[in-house]
């Protein structure tokens, strides 16, 4: 029972990590709480539903979703966030919330309020494999999460782009002074962050076989809590925090405590406790 619970927790943690990753990357570069990131996540799932007409293969559908969501992310950055960099910190936050509400309602108007299934065909029939500990679907989610996280790790740590992000993170002007095309770096950051969120959208749509307009609302704020818990801007801190929260939720929910503490506020309670001890999150720095 323990191992199965652990797998349940890690699977959820993997999903949280994919959603939160983009959020932390964006915050790292622009210091913006990008709440409409969850709208991009839901958009990914909807692109999945549309892409099904082209090909039922999960990989093809995911790639398409990543492409579209990446572009949408760049558009958001260009059209919405860049012009607002000058104004006070709260303005992009409210604009992002407005965008998120707008996206949720656009999904409803475009695809109807009902839940849409996402019956994708998984390569090598991975989803049929069922062992006592891990279900097929969980295997699909875990393997995809690992692939995407490794991709992100590679880009961030081993490419010039990743270096440009680190420089931009420290200081816009100095980074630009050293020849970093800051604009392009920020755009690429949004591209990757949003693409991964799009992939997460498809994955969650497949795992639960359900795509609906408000599927982004819980991840939106829970991902925010996890991002802060891991240390805003610290990518790996966030991934670890996501896994931790996934596991804690799995075990806490079935324990007597679960009757008092609803699952979705566990992340926040953990956040408040940690922030009181370490104001910059588990792995955050000043």
């Amino acid at each position: 029972m323990f191992w199965q619970q652990l797998v349940n927790g890690v699977t959820m943690g993997g999903i949280y990590a994919l959603v939160t990753l983009g959020l932390t990357m964006v915050y790292g570069v622009l210091r913006i709480l990008h709440i409409s990131h969850a709208g991009v996540f839901a958009l990914g799932a909807y692109i999945g539903v549309v892409a099904l007409r082209l090909s039922p293969n999960l990989v093809v559908v995911t790639l398409l979703a990543m492409l579209v969501c990446g572009l949408v992310g760049v558009l958001m950055q260009r059209w919405l966030y860049r012009p607002l960099l000058g104004s006070s910190r709260i303005v992009p936050l409210i604009a992002s919330i407005g965008m998120f509400t707008l996206m949720e309602d656009l999904f409803r108007l475009a695809a109807g309020p009902y839940v849409l299934p996402l019956p994708v065909r998984v390569p090598f029939g991975l989803d049929e494999v069922t062992t006592s500990v891990v279900t097929g679907n969980q295997l699909v989610v875990l393997s995809s999460a690992v692939i995407l996280l490794v991709l992100a790790w590679f880009v961030i740590n081993h490419t010039r782009l990743g270096l440009a992000w680190k420089a931009t993170e420290q200081d816009f002007e100095t980074a630009a002074a050293f020849g970093v095309n800051v604009d392009r770096a920020v755009a690429m950051n949004f591209l990757l962050g949003s693409a991964i969120a799009g992939a997460a959208g498809v994955l969650v749509g497949f795992y639960y076989n359900s795509v609906y307009p408000t599927m982004g609302s819980v991840p939106a704020y829970k991902a925010m809590a996890i991002a802060v818990l891991g240390g805003l801007g610290n990518v790996w801190g966030t991934v670890i925090a996501a896994l931790l929260i996934g596991i804690i939720e799995a075990f806490l929910v079935i324990s007597p405590v679960g009757l008092f503490l609803p699952r979705d506020s566990i992340a926040f309670v953990a956040l408040i406790l940690v922030l009181l001890l370490r104001p910059y999150g588990l792995f955050g720095r000043r």
């Binding site: 607002l84 919330i97 309602d105 108007l109 925010m224 809590a225 805003l232 008092f260 609803p262 309670v269």
Partner: protein
Amino acid sequence: MGLYQVTIAITIGIYIILTMGLNIITGYTGQVSLGHAAFFGVGAYASAILSVRHGFPFWAALPVAIIATALVGAVLGAVSTRLREDSLAITTIGINFVVVSVFKYSSFFGGALGIGGIRYPSFFGHMLTKPEYLPVVAACVALGIWFDRRLVRSWLGLALRAVGQDEAAAESLGVDSPRFKIVAFMIGTAYAGAAGSLYAHFMSFISPQDFGFPMSISIISMAVFGGLGTLRGAILGSCVLGLAPEVFRPLVDYRNLMYGAMLLLMMRFMPQGLIGDGSVIWERIRSLFAARRLPGRADERGGV
């Protein structure tokens, strides 16, 4: 004025009180609070429990609810002194979620069923009807405005704005910012407590989801929409976004869409808010007044 207009007027009055309170915390003192609805809830539940279970009349329940909420607000204020801007914003979201789940989970607060049977205030034995409740709300709004004007003109108000605009500079001038942040949270949440009490007695039935995070978003959107940091902005923002759902009601299916779009476009093209300091509209209004006023008035005191 039909009951429909009275209902909307009372709702907008309650929004104005909430937004004025948030404006003191986030507008003047610069502490971003995305969980203001939690304190709206604390005031509502305090007033509901006092009046339903302990027979408090409205006139007694209101002040006690205000004080109770301010004390809870002080706790958030203390927490805020340890946190930096962004992690504070997210923590206030967390507090909103946690407070709502406390209402939902404990039977003391009536659990998921909420609390009903909250009586209207009675005035010398005569139970007020809804139209007669409007003046009570209007009086509270007026009181809130008067207190805000006094605050802005006081040393406390000046110190809060100093903390909000540059904490280190304020500290170097003798303003111990942690203490003032706590005071700002107490005042701001006291406003929310009053609004909560007024809401509970107006609706006569409250349930946990009335005070959830979407409500906090509405409140901060009103403050920012009108022009954060200004009283006039808080009032106008509450009226515009308070009326929006009714104005858009005929567009039955597109209401949420219009609300989101309005917020997005507003922030994108007029970040200072409709009539905030530095907004195009306010500058034009001021130039209108300035032209008529005797030129050369020495100063222009803080945002009216």
